[in-house]
């Protein structure tokens, strides 16, 4: 089961409204390389891990990703705070306003709704871990694109943090892949 802690993994307090950045950041909520896809992928794959190390690592990283979803949503909400329908329309979020008002909804940066087909599982531990390594690299690259799109330090700090988490997760998945490969002589 899961329990909630009423705090963010990393502090976020964005004062400057930036609707275009909010739109771009949606990619990491409901986009193909986003946090929602990563979290669901790992929390699903853990059921077919061969031993406790894999079950633990996928549980723990998958759970951390839930906290990252919360961070992305926090950033989007704070960046959109107080925006008028006209401002949203001008920033390319008119469609978002029409359907969701100021609510959050998991889409990518272009408004395409999240689909579970962004996630992968094969039941083959090496294939799954290597897929997760690639997922972390794709997310790292996306964070770099997002960092290229803003100068606001309030946005850059949490993005730097999230980008770095992808690097650490990649390293852990790779270590576990190497350990299993050696033990399984594959």
């Amino acid at each position: 089961m899961f329990a909630y802690q009423k705090r963010l993994q990393f502090p976020i307090n964005i004062k400057k409204k930036d609707l275009k950045m909010a739109k771009f950041l949606l990619s990491q909520y409901g986009g193909p390389y986003g946090e929602l896809a990563a979290s669901l992928q790992y929390l699903n794959q853990r059921f077919s891990m061969p031993d406790g190390r894999g079950k633990a690592l996928l549980t723990d990283i998958g759970t951390e990703e839930l906290g990252h979803i919360e961070m992305i949503c926090t950033m989007v909400q704070q960046l959109m705070k107080g925006a008028t329908p006209k401002e949203l329309k001008e920033a390319g979020l008119g469609g978002h306003y029409a359907q969701f008002d100021h609510a959050l909804y998991p889409t990518d940066a272009n408004g395409v709704p999240f689909t579970i087909t962004y996630t992968q599982a094969t039941g083959d531990v090496i294939a799954d871990l290597e897929n997760n390594m690639a997922a972390e690299q794709r997310a790292r690259a996306t964070y770099e694109h997002l960092m290229d799109l803003t100068d606001d330090k309030d946005v850059l700090d949490p993005l730097s943090f999230l980008r770095q988490r992808e690097i650490v997760h990649y390293a852990r998945f790779k270590e576990l892949r190497d350990i299993y490969k050696k033990e399984m002589k594959r």
């Binding site: 329990a3 909630y4 802690q5 009423k6 705090r7 963010l8 993994q9 990393f10 502090p11 976020i12 307090n13 964005i14 004062k15 061969p50 031993d51 406790g52 190390r53 633990a56 690592l57 723990d60 990283i61 951390e64 919360e70 949503c73 926090t74 909400q77 704070q78 705070k81 770099e144 960092m147 330090k153 309030d154 850059l156 700090d157 730097s160 943090f161 999230l162 980008r163 770095q164 988490r165 690097i167 650490v168 997760h169 390293a171 852990r172 270590e175 576990l176 190497d178 350990i179 050696k182 033990e183 399984m184």
Partner: protein, 161 residues
Amino acid sequence: MNNYVNYNECESNSYSDCVMDFTQSRWNPGVYNGNFTSATDMNEDRMPKLYSPYEGYVRGNLFPSLYQGYKNIKPSIKETNNQKQELLSYIGAYAFAAHELNLYLDNYPTDREAVKQYKKYQEEASKAMKEYEKMYGPLTVTGVNAQDWTWVNEPWPWDNN
């Protein structure tokens, strides 16, 4: 001044000065009773160095050997004069350090030095959480320690502070 203002235990700007030595750390296959299928990855020379909790927290990475910056962007956490935010950052830093060792230990569960270090950071984080809950209200639903159901109190984590 509260006890947590000096959470930045390493004042230096140099990464290497803020790194803690993990010299006792060894992969020791003899102590684990799990169901590993074979001799596993021994990694005898594994001696991960760690940033201090705060230095690691700022970077999003407790392990200097894994850290990769991006362009010239210097990671930071905004300084605050607000005691509540200071304490939250302190909790954040120690919980983060513990979480980093948690992920590491999932792969290397017999690294007893890392287990010790995990416990140290985790205990510090829980102590600070209890302190926070006394002053500002619950961080977990089990932390409600008033007559009213203070769990519902604002602000929530996504609200601007």
